[in-house]
């Protein structure tokens, strides 16, 4: 799997490249700013792009802007944005691009759990959606009455849906049968008046949109 990495900190960039190489990715380019990222993606057409949100020259959201622009040109481009903090405005903008397919928004903290991090990258590269658990936790915290009607287990299921997990993955994490998970999911979506859909990505977007509207 061919990857382009954009990260302005040399140490972290080299570290990420080493990590991904070790797990069998082919790092075709590792660059330090947004302009180089755009150029590298156009040149290599990678299977996955991993970019820092904050990069030179302005150190605000250059990486994210570049990612959104690249996805506007090519909605199938798989992108994972890495951020030091949860910034809901940025996360929302990125996740909304390309109907939520092949997109990830992760805190840099989660690079530390290397195996899980690599697993998340693979899921995005395969067209999945990955939302940082911290984003979901914050979104669920501001929720109001409808969320209060969910059972504890249903809330767990909702969080995992929002993070982009498939039914099978949720079943594995919660140690349930897939049929049991399917029942929970149906119940959650019904209680929140959301359309019941088997498409994981659509489901993530619907749940996130719902949670974001809950303030």
């Amino acid at each position: 799997m061919r990857v382009v990495i954009a990260e302005d900190s040399v140490l972290l960039r080299e570290g990420l490249a080493g990590l991904l190489t070790r797990f069998g990715f082919e790092v075709v380019a590792a660059v330090g700013d947004a302009a180089a990222l755009v150029a590298a993606v156009r040149e290599h057409r990678p299977d996955l792009t991993v970019t820092d949100v904050r990069m030179p020259p302005g150190f605000t959201d250059e990486g994210l802007r570049a990612a959104v622009a690249l996805r506007a040109a090519d909605p199938d481009l798989a992108v994972v944005a890495l951020s030091q903090y949860v910034q809901h405005s940025y996360a929302g903008e990125l996740l909304a691009s390309g109907q939520g397919r092949a997109i990830g928004y992760l805190l840099k903290d989660h690079i530390a759990d290397v195996a899980e991090f690599v697993d998340k990258l693979r899921r995005v590269a395969e067209g999945g959606t990955v939302v940082d658990p911290e984003v979901v936790r914050q979104l669920m915290q501001r929720g109001r009455d409808p969320l209060g009607r969910l059972s504890a287990r249903e809330r767990e299921v909702l969080a995992l849906i929002a993070e982009g997990h498939s039914n099978a993955a949720i079943a594995r994490i919660l140690i349930l049968t897939e049929a049991g998970v399917g029942k929970h999911i149906g119940s959650v979506l019904t209680k929140l008046h959301l359309p019941v859909s088997d498409d994981t990505n659509r489901r993530v977007l619907a749940v996130l949109t719902y949670l974001r509207g809950q303030q």
């Binding site: 900190s9 140490l11 972290l12 570290g15 990420l16 080493g18 990590l19 070790r22 904050r54 150190f59 605000t60 959201d61 030091q84 903090y85 949860v86 910034q87 809901h88 405005s89 840099k108 903290d109 690079i111 530390a112 759990d113 290397v114 195996a115 914050q138 979104l139 915290q141 501001r142 109001r144 303030q215």
Partner: protein
């Protein structure tokens, strides 16, 4: 402030005539005459109805003449009232500039009322109520009525001086009276210093009055207070800039290195046999590094929130609310404010929410931020137990100081039993 030399003081000096002051006196007197002339031209429009009214009232007059004169008079007075103050302030600007001819000292201008020196900020209401406006109108009368009188006296003397050669020529050639010619010559010569002294004296007196009416003497204490307030605001801003620098340094260096380090530990953990002693040590180091990442992130965010700088107050407050254990409803106007206003407003919300969690055992809070009438009002209300005492901690006191430095104020109400309401009002250009 030490007053510089003025025309009026220079006249009294023994070596007056040998200095440049006579020429400055002449220049000031001549330009006063010109200014007076221009002023009359400008006034002729609005004053025309009044002149017409006087004409109408000349005998023989009938009853309808009185009515017409009254209407014309009213229109004239109205026009003068309408354009007078604005004209007076415009003239005052020119005259303050011209005062430099009549004195070396600075001619500072300080409105005692709400008007600034920038005409763009004047509003009609303050224009008519500001004492400075009416002092400028008084000066307008001085320039229009009194200045022509002394100007005429000076002009007469100047005419006598200038016409001396012609007059002497006339006496010698036509009248053959050399005695008178000598007398006329002496008179012309004698009048030169008289003219110079009188021009300086009249001009100096006019300038002194102008200074009195147009340039309020700045109160040294007030000037000092303004400077103190400015330096306080500068200190607060410098403090904010320093926090932003620390945040940037921590983010760019420490946080990236820590992420990298934690990742390496995570990798090392993978390669170690799970039951080896090293695996346990590395796993422990990995966990500690992860905790440190979270702690460092919270610390850095506390120092200077990025979202506030990049996306503004509403986005930053919404994120703060999302991260708070309370259920927080945010009702904030969009739009950006100056960095100082945003920083102080955000600090207030952050402090209020933190206090609500720590001391008030609240479960809900409502944050509002509204801009109206050049003022941003931020309010945080929680459902906690109240009884907050600003004197107990430095947080609220520090916030009040920051608000005051930004030209605003902080209000807090926290009766025992709750609710606690914290409000910050900050001036912002609307």
């Amino acid at each position: 402030m030490t007053p510089g030399t003025t025309l009026l003081r220079a006249v009294l000096r023994p070596r007056f005539l040998a200095s440049a002051w006579p020429w400055r006196g002449i220049a000031y007197a001549a330009s006063t005459a010109a200014a007076s002339g221009v002023l009359w031209l400008l006034l002729s429009g609005p004053a025309a109805p009044l002149v017409l009214a006087v004409e109408v009232l000349r005998p023989p007059r009938a009853a309808h003449h009185l009515l017409l004169a009254a209407v014309l008079g009213l229109v004239g007075v109205g026009l003068l009232a309408l354009v007078g103050p604005g004209l007076a302030l415009a003239v005052a600007r020119v005259e303050r500039w011209r005062l430099r001819l009549a004195g070396d000292g600075p001619a500072p201008f300080r409105h005692t009322g709400a008007l600034g020196t920038d005409p763009a900020t004047w509003r009609t209401g303050t224009l008519y109520t500001d004492p400075a406006t009416w002092r400028a109108v008084a000066y307008l009368l001085l320039l229009a009525v009194v200045a022509p009188v002394w100007g005429a006296v000076l002009a007469l003397i100047a005419l006598l001086v200038v016409s001396t050669p012609l007059s002497v020529h006339h006496h010698v050639v036509n009248l053959h009276s050399p005695g008178t010619a000598v007398g006329r010559t002496l008179l012309g010569l004698a009048l030169i210093p008289v003219l110079l002294y009188l021009a300086a004296a009249f001009g100096g007196a006019h300038a002194a009055l102008a200074r009195l009416l147009l340039c309020a003497e700045p109160d040294p204490a007030a000037a000092e207070l303004v400077e103190v307030a400015r330096s306080r605001a500068r200190l607060a801003d410098a403090f904010d800039a320093e926090r932003r620098r620390i945040e940037r340094d921590l983010h760019d260096v420490a946080q990236q290195r820590l992420v990298s380090l934690t990742m390496q530990l995570g990798l090392a953990k993978l390669d170690l046999p799970p039951d080896s002693p090293a695996a346990a040590a590395v796993a422990s180091a990995h966990e500690q590094a992860k905790v440190l990442m979270v702690e460092l992130r919270d610390l850095v965010r506390g120092i200077s929130p990025r979202t506030l700088r990049e996306l503004g107050l509403r986005a930053a407050v919404e994120e703060l609310a999302a991260g708070s254990p309370l259920r927080v409803r945010v009702d904030a106007d969009a739009g950006r404010f100056t960095p100082t206003v945003e920083t102080v407003a955000f600090a207030a919300v952050s402090e209020a929410l933190a206090n609500a969690v720590k001391h008030a055992t609240a479960t809900e809070a409502v944050v509002s931020a509204r801009r109206s009438g050049g003022r941003l009002t931020v309010q945080v209300r929680d459902d906690g137990c109240g009884g907050a005492d600003p004197a107990r901690g430095t947080g609220i006191t520090g916030l009040a100081d920051r608000a005051a430095a930004a030209g605003g104020r902080l209000l807090m109400s926290s009766p025992a039993g709750g609710p606690t309401i914290l409000r910050v009002e900050l001036p912002c250009a609307s």
